[in-house]
């Protein structure tokens, strides 16, 4: 298994290099001029030239890339043009709210999607199956921010069941933390749960038609064990694949959902960085997002190895 993980890590390395290259090139390919942003709204051309020299943008591209890679490897992602704070510091501060949303949202998606998908597969061609499939198709198509706008009024504004804005740190109390992220996490989770329910149903229906399931039933193994222990494990690969894809989707959706709920997370940081054309911060966010998605893909690959030993 360790050798399998090592191989997957080696495969990920070229992708990581591409992510580093893309994040570096952002300063050159993004519209606008970072030096003008740094120089301020009333800067003269000389001021802009001074700011450009300060950013090192006058150096040749290869030299700048070498310097950038050295800084990244050394853990230095630079300083935000807008806040003057370290990029690492900003990302580290924004990580807990988004990690909380991701973790709770993914848990909700897996529980909802897994439960309803399994129910639909086991009760195939009944009203339960048709209801789950219909609702799953509906919620797959509804963006998280629309769900947010629909839920905020009844649950946060009319009744104070959940706060409408803000994030409570877990260190200040688990109850308040959970209350502050339940609604945004649910908004992120619902489309993902719908997708997972569809995949779970499809994969499980196929697995339940397999010979080994008939054999297990013939051997007198209980239905719960047949479905939960045998069929679900065999149906796991496509389900895990879809679950892994949700990490990137969650990160993208967090950008909007965090705005709606005013949560100071990774998505809000990305929004602020882009609106301020804060290139070092954008580079850091792209790099870290890329690494998170790479790691989630690695986790999916490792799970394949567990579910199907032939893939190791």
């Amino acid at each position: 298994m360790l050798r399998f993980v090592g191989r997957r890590l080696m495969v990920s390395l070229p992708v990581l290099v591409i992510v580093v290259l893309v994040s570096f090139l952002l300063i050159d390919v993004m519209p606008g001029d970072a030096a003008r942003v740094l120089a301020g709204e009333r800067a003269t051309e000389q001021d802009v030239a001074a700011a450009r020299a300060q950013l090192g943008l006058d150096d040749p591209l290869p030299a700048r890339f070498g310097s950038y890679v050295a800084d990244v490897v050394g853990g230095d992602l630079g300083t935000s043009l807008f806040t003057g704070r370290g990029v690492w510091e900003s990302i580290a501060e924004a990580a807990p709210p988004t990690a909380s949303l991701l973790a709770v949202g993914m848990l909700m998606a897996l529980l909802l999607g897994g439960t309803f998908g399994t129910a639909a597969a086991v009760l195939r061609d009944t009203w339960v199956d048709r209801g789950v499939s219909g609702l799953a198709a509906l919620f797959t198509a509804v963006p998280p921010f629309v769900i947010a706008l629909l839920l905020i009024a009844p649950l946060a504004l009319d009744r104070s069941i959940f706060p409408s804005t803000g994030y409570a740190d877990a260190a200040d109390g688990l109850g308040e933390w959970l209350r502050s992220i339940t609604l945004p996490a649910f908004c992120l989770a619902l489309p993902a749960a719908a997708e997972l329910a569809r995949q779970t149903r499809g994969a499980l229906v196929d697995a339940l038609d397999e010979d080994f399931v008939r054999t297990a039933r013939a051997a007198g193994i209980g239905e719960v064990s047949v479905v939960g222990k045998h069929a679900l494990k065999n149906a796991g690969v496509p389900i895990v694949t879809v679950a892994g894809l949700q990490v990137g989707r969650f990160l993208g959706s967090a950008l909007v959902v965090e705005q709606v709920f005013a949560i100071p997370g990774f998505g809000s940081l990305a929004y602020s960085a882009v609106t301020n054309q804060d290139v070092p911060l954008i580079q850091g966010i792209v790099l870290v997002s890329g690494i998170v998605v790479l790691l989630s893909n690695l986790a999916v690959d490792v799970t394949y190895g567990y579910l199907n030993p032939e893939m190791r």
């Binding site: 120089a39 301020g40 009333r42 030239a49 807008f82 905020i152 104070s160 804005t165 609106t275």
Partner: protein
Amino acid sequence: MDARVRRVVLVVAVAALIAAGCGGGTDGGSGGRGSHDGEAAYDTSATLRLGANNNPPQFDPASGVTTGVDYTYYPPLYDRLVQLDGDLQPQPMVATDWETSSDGLTWTFHLRDDVTFHDDTPVDAEVVAASMNHARSQRGALAASYGENIADIDAVDPTTLTITLRSPDELLPVRLAFEVELSSIVNPRSLGSPELASSSDGSGPYRLAQVRQDRAVYEKVPGYWDEEVDQRAPARIELIGIADDQARANALRTGAIDGMAVYGEIPDLDRLADGENLIRYDFDRTNRHWVLEMNRDHPELADPRVRQAISLAIDRQLISDTVLWGSCTPSVQPFGAETVGYDSSLDAGDYYDPERARELLADAGADDLHLDFLQLGGTAFQQVTTALQGMLEDVGISTSVDVVEPQVGVATFKEGDYDLTALLPGGAPDPQMSLEAWYLGGASLGPIEPATQRAFDQASQASLGSDERDQGFRAVAQELAVTPLNATICMQTSVFVFSPEVDGVMEQSMPYMQVGYDLARLAVTAS
């Protein structure tokens, strides 16, 4: 009005209504608005939480890049020689009074002797000079451009400071009050320190207790020298960045914040600000205005007839009534109604004449004109740009549009690749400063009509407060209305909503210029 323009504006208005519908509740109702005057007992142990649409910037004044943002965030931490009152007039702060030499080049400021930094270091003329000299030496920073007309800053004795200018400028006290990047007095021990980006070392009524991604937390420093401020100021102020207008309104409605600035249309604003639970404040003496900037470096727009045609193609009333939720007063001059140089007769005229616009374009040989439009992101900019596009198309000018984020709009336009951009510049305390920033320099690109430049020079050389100055800027406004450098569209009211406990709202200076706060003027009344 032309049917084609009507269609365009109707589409924009319908889009706005749809967007509004998606944004939350839409119930109407009459909104309360007004001031919170009268004697009150202040809760100096309170925490005042306010919503802004941007996250905190960096906090080293000398490195500040956006006056509109910096003027809210720095003043609670750093004193200046001079401050602005609610009428945008310069008032004593660390300087008790000041005078200028007969040639107008040397200004002498007399300083208080009881001001100290938070570490008890005295604020004397020497440290003020050191702080301002450091700020104006930051090449490439806003402070340096603000200090370009300053030749020397010298401490004569601990309470006397002289500032020598390269050319006379009667507005120096106003500039020192407004241009906080240059004039914030920083403790010499911290000048140039990178730590200052997220901390403070000043003599203001507050110190910076915490900076997070979305908020700056200010903590009151006991014994501030200005007793009036000290006796009113709440113990803490949290300025919280909430980018989305509806989310900010939701935070206010649920009590998560005590006040908010309104940047765009909020569908249920009247229901939100019902006059009892929350109060709406309209600052309609503002100099903030929507303007269509025209790049006169491009040959087509160098022709004054083309610019005049563009100005005549704009139906200002329609834009104000539909896409700007009635919060913008149509105007062809860049001065507010109560500002020096405002000429009411100009706005009484009809400056919407598409037929005349077509004739002017034909005269200029530009009847098949195509222009590149830079649109800033955000609903209001998108709707104003779309409306302008339709109006220009109606007189035969086609446009293509690229979009950038508002914060970098000016910088991108100044690169010179675009012909047009619709901006909502922050006003300045004085019309001369507004013109310098948005019409005769700053974001404005290209040559200036000699007659306009002559009128401006004459007006700016007249004494402050004189009739000659007022008449001079009226002449500038008349020149700009007839031969526009850029097309002024309307004067934008700054709208805020506060809980009834928040006091001092109308004593602020900032809302008359931009959508921001004078944090040190706000207080919380004891319930």
